[in-house]
């Protein structure tokens, strides 16, 4: 099986420079036999399928739905593939395609959810307690990786600065609040169905 080269960075590609409010992000999750993807009471995606482990919640990986489709959800990097390809890169980096069974395999147990970028980008959470205030704003960034040009990251800007610069106690407390924010916004807006979605025009991501 050949790796789908349409999702790789390549010499003619550039940082996506068009507004993305009408577009959708897609993220995979793994569903074991007997597990449910959706809470039957609420119809919402189960929290454990939003992000696990919890350390990923402050920088959640997703892909732009369009050229990257549900056919690419099953691509799973091996450890060797992760070492070679699981790195951020420039959009025009020339990358040799990953090799089947060496760098990647197919995981048929993977499922997905989708969410509109407009539901995430710029949305803020403001928590106050006594005289202590804290706010976080959700930002969607194009962050190409060597295995996936369409890789995006969901990150949080806080009024207290970057998480990694906080002392451990403060970092844990803020991470807890970011975890709640991510769970809430994704639980409310994400769906396991493929939405009607546009495909990004070539001029938005290619110099050709």
């Amino acid at each position: 099986m050949n790796y789908p080269i349409e999702i790789l960075p390549s010499q003619h590609r550039k940082w996506i420079d068009c507004p993305l409010g009408d577009y959708f992000l897609i993220r995979h999750f793994e569903l074991k036999e007997g597990e449910e993807a959706i809470d039957p009471e609420t119809g919402n995606i189960r929290v454990k399928n939003i992000c696990s482990p919890k350390e990923n919640i402050s920088d959640l990986s997703m892909s732009l739905l369009g050229i990257f489709t549900i056919r690419h959800i099953n691509l799973k990097l091996t450890q060797e593939g992760r070492d070679k390809y699981l790195h951020y890169c420039q959009p025009d980096e020339v990358v040799l395609p990953p090799s089947h069974n060496i760098d990647f395999s197919n995981d048929a147990n993977r499922r997905f959810w989708c969410i509109s970028i407009s539901r995430l980008n710029g949305k803020s959470f403001n928590y106050s307690r006594n005289n202590s205030n804290f706010s976080a704003v959700c930002r969607v960034h194009h962050t190409p990786m060597r295995w996936n040009f369409w890789h995006f990251s969901l990150r949080w800007e806080t009024d207290l600065g970057p998480l990694e610069e906080m002392d451990e106690r403060e970092r844990n407390k803020i991470a807890q609040r970011l975890g709640h924010s991510a769970r809430t916004i994704i639980s409310h807006f994400a769906r396991v169905e493929v939405p009607t979605h546009p495909v990004l025009p070539t001029g938005c991501y290619s110099n050709n």
Partner: protein, 188 residues
């Protein structure tokens, strides 16, 4: 609910995915039927349930729903042993009881809980067009006992977020939902 993309080359994948994840939209794909037909089947099932003669007083209804939440909580606790190791189950259940009873007291249309790998209970609560998402932290409390964080939506618009103790959060929810005639009981 988002519109479903239909008639694409991916329809086989979409169908198998929707069936596996238990989406309500799976059946139209599987049978070639319509969404309207699925909705009619759901409405028929609801009607049959109503005709079956079950009725509860409000207290019985709250108890029935609490038992369901309690069973769900215990079942999920056993799957998150690594997160709650060293924390006696009876204490965790007592904490759950406080938040669950509070949230049930307003007779929500929908309520559900999920134990998270951050050591919290994540409640989803819905009544009319109001959705409340409340994390009640059972361990790793950074700001004191019974720490909670809540976000409130009206349809798809955010109304408010709060962090604090469970009782502080409930007071804030009440303040935010005065106009919605939703009022949780205050702590004694």
């Amino acid at each position: 609910m988002a519109k479903i993309r239909k008639n694409t080359g991916d329809s086989d994948l979409i169908e198998s995915h929707l069936l596996r994840v238990g989406s309500a939209y799976a059946e139209p794909y599987a049978t070639g039927g319509s969404f309207e037909a699925t909705n009619r089947r759901f409405a028929f099932a609801d009607q049959k349930a109503k005709e079956s003669g079950w009725s509860h007083t409000p207290i019985e209804e709250i108890n029935r729903r609490f038992i369901k939440l309690d069973r769900s909580f215990i079942s999920q606790l056993s799957q998150e042993n690594n997160v709650f190791s060293g924390h006696p189950e009876y204490i965790l259940r007592e904490k759950m009881k406080i938040s669950a009873e509070l949230l049930l007291s307003c007779e929500p249309d929908v309520i559900s809980l999920e134990v998270t790998n951050e050591g919290s209970i994540f409640y989803t609560w819905r009544k009319n067009d109001i959705s409340i998402y409340l994390d009640h932290y059972l361990i790793e409390e950074h700001d004191g006992k019974d720490e909670a964080i809540v976000s409130i939506y009206k349809n798809n618009d955010k109304v408010a977020d709060f962090a604090g103790s469970l009782d502080e959060v409930i007071v804030q929810i009440n303040n935010s939902l005065v106009s919605e005639s939703i009022d949780f009981p205050a702590f004694a």
